[in-house]
């Protein structure tokens, strides 16, 4: 069985974001980078599937600059067999359509039985790339999965809907699934597996060799939101803060009445 998992490297969302000089994305310096949270569930599910079926080859793919290889190594340490890096220093300026077409141009003749992606990327949050890849490949896709099982060429899964309701869905492979938070418990790579991952194949292919398609979206401007909330911001020593908060709760709420 051939499995592909697509991951993205994103900044830690607790970072302070500054708009870049071109005004079309965030400044990439001084950020801590990690695997997109949704993709950790995708990698974990792919690794579990590989362990279940035994005879499987699991590729992790990421489009991005050389920097993303660090995150790909984590996926290799979690249990992916090989890495396909699509080298693209401009990937942050590409829209989901352009990213999906790069993934498809790599994947189209490789015969993957199952493709895993996250349901959305944390920095862009479009929730498009997975479904676009499936549609371009002409295979079915199941999105927002919180339960996944596979047997005899069929995926049985549950999609998460609003309000804690789930929809039971299934389809035959080849197929693509997008993974939602809580689908499983992503493993932490162990030290021996981190060492082993260093020897695994990680091949970079320049995006330019994959007939990249142009983006369909144009970014006009990026800016921090205007502060509308205007709530009170308090800083200081915990004991003083606690006193101030109690005073506020007494004056502004009935919580202490």
């Amino acid at each position: 069985m051939k499995i592909l998992v697509c991951i993205k490297q994103v900044p830690d969302m607790e970072s302070k974001f500054k708009v870049n000089a071109a005004g079309n994305w965030y400044e990439e310096t001084d950020l801590a980078w990690r695997m997109n949270e949704y993709d950790e569930y995708a990698v974990e599910q792919a690794v579990q599937l590989k362990q279940q079926v035994g005879d499987a080859d699991l590729t992790v793919l990421c489009v991005g600059s050389d920097r993303v290889k660090e995150t790909m190594k984590k996926a290799l340490a979690m249990g992916c067999d090989r890495g396909a890096h699509i080298a693209d220093d401009e990937s942050h300026l590409k829209d989901p359509y352009a990213i999906a077409s790069l993934i498809v141009s790599y994947a189209k003749d490789k015969g993957f039985d199952l493709i895993f992606t996250g349901m959305q990327s944390q920095d862009r949050g479009s929730g498009q790339v997975g479904v676009l890849v499936a549609e371009m490949l002409g295979i079915p896709s199941l999105t927002t999965l919180v339960e996944f099982s596979f047997a005899d060429g069929t995926i049985n899964a549950k999609r998460e809907l609003e309000g804690g309701i789930k929809a039971k869905v299934s389809c035959a492979t080849p197929a693509l699934v997008t993974c939602q938070l809580g689908l499983n418990t992503p493993r932490y790579p162990t030290l021996p597996n981190i060492m082993k991952a260093k020897k695994k194949e990680l091949i970079s292919t320049p995006a330019a060799e994959l007939n990249p398609e142009a983006s369909l979206l144009q970014v006009l401007q990026v800016a921090p939101p205007e502060k509308k909330g205007g709530g009170l911001v308090l800083e200081g020593d915990p004991a003083d803060l606690a006193d101030q908060l109690i005073q506020i709760l007494k004056e502004k709420t009935t919580a202490l009445a």
């Binding site: 609003e162 804690g164 144009q218 709760l249």
Partner: protein, 305 residues
């Protein structure tokens, strides 16, 4: 401009997001028509053409078929924009329509600014103003961003669509949220724990503050996903919607899916080490502090009152 609104229907009922689609069309000042896989027994309040396929025939969840039906309507109506809710139905269907017509998709729109659309990035710490380069665009709307002041009115002009059977996906029905646990929707005071608690042992700090305030404790999704707290305590779009007099958010960044479940609280106190955390947008007071230091001191002082 002409736009096509894709309404939602689930488990035999129309969903509330439909009024947001109509309001969006009004705000854009566009002419609109609507598409729905639903039932002629429950029609939306809408003064316009409604292309209706029967859910009994087309299936409530059948993306490849719904896509085909929508493509047929697009062919007829020639809209410049197709609009869906950014919901489990909408984000699943939108890219399918977009790709079929090679249309640009703009996800999770929060605002219309000078005719362009604004979308959030990086947990709402940044906003992007974007524009489609294609003649047709597919747009999804963030829940709550276009809620109308008043519910729409009117009776639609129904145009029935015939749906052929068939699907590449089998839909096996719904599974309700697990019953039981606490009912946070009635709680007057809620203290919630977010991923910022760091480890399960620290949940006790939050529980103790909840007790000192004679309230319940709640949680954000990662705390529930990690099984540090029961599912019934999750606040947000995929958990409970709460409206307490006081909501204390400890170590919660304020993702839109969490805010959707608690923003109607009367008073919000946030405790967070990140001064720029989006929870600050809905908080009446943001205490910039390490919860592990502040919460125990606050609890102690409250207990001493």
């Amino acid at each position: 401009m002409k736009i096509l609104l894709v309404a939602e229907y689930r488990d035999g009922k129309l969903l509330g997001t439909n009024s947001e689609l109509i309001n969006f069309a009004t705000q854009l000042g566009s002419e609109s028509s609507m598409f729905l896989v639903g039932s002629d027994g429950s029609l939306p309040n809408y003064a316009g053409n409604l292309y209706l396929a029967d859910a009994g025939q087309a299936g409530e969840f059948n993306p490849s078929l719904h896509k085909q039906l929508i493509l047929d309507v697009i062919e007829k109506e020639q809209p410049q924009m197709v609009v869906l809710a950014h919901s489990s139905y909408g984000w699943d269907l939108a890219p399918r329509i977009a790709l079929a017509l090679k249309a640009a998709q703009i996800s999770e729109v929060v605002e219309i600014k000078d005719g362009n659309l604004v979308v959030p990035s990086c947990n709402a710490k940044l906003r992007r103003e974007v524009k489609a380069t294609t003649a047709l665009s597919v747009v999804t709307l963030q829940g709550g961003a276009f809620t109308p002041a008043e519910d729409p009115s009117g009776t639609p002009e129904v145009i029935k669509l015939e749906a052929a059977a068939g699907s590449d996906i089998q839909f096996g029905g719904y599974e309700e949220a697990e019953a039981g646990g606490v009912d946070l929707s009635k709680a007057e005071i809620i203290v919630s724990a977010g991923r910022g608690i760091g480890k399960p042992e620290n949940l006790e700090i939050i529980e103790n503050l909840a007790k000192a305030l004679k309230g319940e404790y709640g949680a954000s999704r990662p705390v529930v996903d990690a099984e540090w707290a029961d599912q019934s305590r999750q606040v947000g779009t995929t958990g409970q919607t709460v409206t307490p007099k006081l909501y204390v958010a400890c170590g919660i960044s304020g993702a839109i899916q969490h805010l959707a479940g608690m923003k109607k609280s009367e008073f919000v106190l946030a405790i967070n080490t990140d001064k720029d955390a989006p929870i600050g947008e809905v908080a009446d007071v943001l205490a910039v502090a390490d919860l592990k230091q502040l919460v125990p001191v606050l609890t102690e002082k409250l207990n001493a009152l």
